[in-house]
């Protein structure tokens, strides 16, 4: 079986090729490697530095600094004008709050619903189990984009909770379709399978029911799987763009990513208000970057474990 558990999320093994090269009398190789790493660091990091630094500069300075190193340095006429400008133009707090609500509710419901399903599939036995699992896994290859348009038509026909027809322009339409997730079920399923079945037996002897076993034994042991699923649900929910673009009209329920579109049509004193765009972009990016840096190992190992997909 090709199921391999790597213990540490952060790879630590020394690259043998580099080491071997060192012993083969090529002393320049480590230097070359380090130089490459630093250049790439600039390639991947500088655009984001540029974004954040320039969000504090007036449009004239943004363009004025372009030809020099100042483009990446917080120098010159720095102010929060772009930020106050953003708050004047769009209901930023509402957009941001909507993104937070939608992402968190999707993650929380997703954790509960998908782990329960995975528990039933992994540790219990019932007729049709294999068929259900097979169908769930088969849907993994369908990208959301293939069914986005039919889904849009479909949610517009569905009866809504208050008796009317159509789910468009609600929180629910941005959350509920994304709660159940085949990949989350698969990740939980795999993790649950690695927990010894003897625990269930012992609990049953003590008189615990299946739901009790799920809640009090299996879930508390599944911290890493919970973290992985939470991260892999949160990122797409936070970054979601195509779907909210189609299903939301009122600003009261629009998320932050769609809010970015407002700045494309609006112009400042001299053409597009780039300073404000960068301020807005920074405000919707920095919280996630901070989360990422704080929980870096969990993020990276989640992505690494998404390698099972396929």
């Amino acid at each position: 079986m090709s199921k391999t558990e790597t213990i540490a999320p952060a790879p630590t093994a020394e690259t043998p090729s580099v080491r071997a090269a060192g012993t083969r009398k090529k002393p320049w190789l480590p230097w070359l490697v380090m130089a490459l790493r630093i250049v790439l660091c600039l390639v991947f990091g500088l655009p984001l530095v540029f974004l954040i630094v320039n969000s504090f500069k007036p449009d004239s300075a943004i363009f004025g600094d372009l030809g020099s190193i100042n483009a990446f340095l917080p120098v010159g006429d720095l102010s929060l004008d772009n930020y106050t400008g953003v708050f004047d133009r769009v209901p930023f707090a509402t957009f941001m709050m909507n993104s937070v609500i939608i992402s968190i509710v999707t993650v929380v419901f997703g954790l509960i619903v998908n782990s329960m399903a995975a528990f039933a599939l992994s540790r219990m036995h019932f007729k049709g189990q294999k068929v259900v699992l097979g169908v769930i896994l088969a849907t993994l290859i369908v990208p959301f984009e293939t069914m986005a348009l039919p889904l849009l038509w479909w949610v517009n026909q569905l009866p809504y909770f208050d008796g009317s027809t159509g789910w468009l322009d609600t929180y629910e339409v941005q959350i509920i379709p994304f709660v159940a997730n085949a990949f989350s079920i698969y990740l939980f399923y795999q993790y649950f399978d690695s927990i010894p079945k003897e625990l269930d037996e012992a609990a049953k002897v003590d008189g615990a029911g299946w739901f009790r076993i799920y809640r009090s034994i299996i879930m508390p042991l599944s911290g890493p799987a919970v973290a992985t699923v939470a991260i892999l649900t949160f990122l797409p929910a936070w970054n979601s763009y195509l779907w909210p673009l189609m299903v939301t009209q009122s600003e009261a329920i629009r998320p932050a990513m769609v809010g970015m579109d407002y700045f494309k049509q609006m112009t400042g004193a001299s053409g597009t208000a780039w300073g404000q765009i960068m301020a807005y972009a920074s405000m919707i990016t920095v919280p996630v970057l901070v989360l990422f840096i704080a929980f870096q190992r969990a993020f990276i190992s989640s992505i690494a474990s998404s390698g099972v997909k396929g």
Binding site: K3, F50, L66, P150, P224
Partner: protein
């Protein structure tokens, strides 16, 4: 935990069937009850839309319409295959995929090899390379739209070394290429991590042995690393390809399909048709073409995976 495997889901199913049947008196009802929330949601928001993609494509369904959809046979498809924009979009989508798949996977592998060493600062570099992945594509697109401007950051930097850069996004000859470059930049860290987890599975003994046999770094890469990454490779190729076929956000934020349809893609066209023009039936026909493409790629991947199992 990081479970690193590219096992086809089917294999997992077979494994679970070998589980010893334990006594489960009365568990069946509870099992279905625990499965029900996810099951119902997936039925309504996943299975039904997939079936709708297949069926609405043969109707004249509109997003908002007083009359119910009528069956129209292959009308949508004859219209689609006679449409220039569709062929342009299909071509752009395929060009995008064909260029970005080798570009992004090779560069990501290069990154992975570069940071797969235990020296000072490795963690820092890996984190920086990964930063664009956690930045949303909407933000990345806006940022690069600025950088790509005629008088933007990239051309200013090029001017420093005496090169007059093109109007990246405004020129139909460079627009798609510019978007490819940006998309690869954004997602490379993601696949670097996947490659890294593949590299971790290769035993250090193999490198020792190769080294004793006098193999240099390049020979070691060709004879040890590359064959050891076969499963990872298949997985990475399929995910990049599917992501490439799904190209939408960058187009919608940066170009709206222009200039001259040079960056229109299947998903962008489907959204314009099914959302802005409300022609759900016609958009479903496009989605179906897209679906067939994805399915074909997945079947090829399955085929490659099976070949590998046979060779063992």
């Amino acid at each position: 935990m990081s479970t690193v495997t590219a096992t086809a889901p089917v294999a997992t199913t077979t494994r679970s069937s070998k589980k010893p049947r334990t006594s489960t008196s009365g568990g069946s009802g509870t099992a279905w009850a625990m499965l029900a929330p996810a099951g119902v949601l997936m039925l309504v928001f996943l299975i039904v839309p997939i079936v709708l993609t297949l069926s609405l494509a043969f109707t004249d369904a509109r997003l908002i319409s007083p009359t119910p959809a009528k069956f129209t046979g292959l009308t949508n498809f004859t219209r689609l295959f006679g449409s220039n924009v569709f062929w342009h979009s299909l071509q752009n989508t395929i060009v995008f995929a064909v260029v970005i798949v080798p570009l992004q996977s090779a560069c990501a592998l290069g990154l992975a090899v570069l940071v797969n060493a235990k020296v000072r600062g490795t963690n820092f570099f890996r984190t920086v390379y990964f930063l664009p992945v956690v930045t949303s594509m909407v933000v990345v697109s806006m940022l690069w739209l600025f950088m790509y401007q005629q008088d933007g950051l990239i051309n200013s930097l090029l001017a420093q070394i005496g090169i007059t850069g093109p109007d990246w996004i405004g020129d139909p000859n460079t627009a798609l290429f510019a978007i490819i470059l940006m998309s690869a930049w954004q997602a490379m860290g993601f696949h670097m991590v996947i490659w890294l987890s593949g590299l971790q599975t290769i035993s250090a003994d193999l490198y020792e042995a190769a080294s004793l046999d006098g193999a240099g770094p390049w020979q070691q890469f060709v004879n040890v690393t590359w064959p050891g990454l076969k499963q990872t490779r298949t997985f990475i190729l399929i995910t990049i390809t599917i992501a490439a076929f799904s190209l939408f956000t960058q187009i919608n934020v940066m170009t709206q399909g222009g200039p001259l349809d040079s960056t229109s893609t299947l998903v962008f066209l489907a959204v314009r048709t099914g959302f802005q023009q409300q022609q759900t039936g016609y958009a479903s026909a496009m989605s179906l073409v897209f679906f067939v493409l994805v399915l074909a790629v997945s079947l090829v991947q399955r085929h490659l995976t099976r070949d590998k199992e046979l060779q063992r």
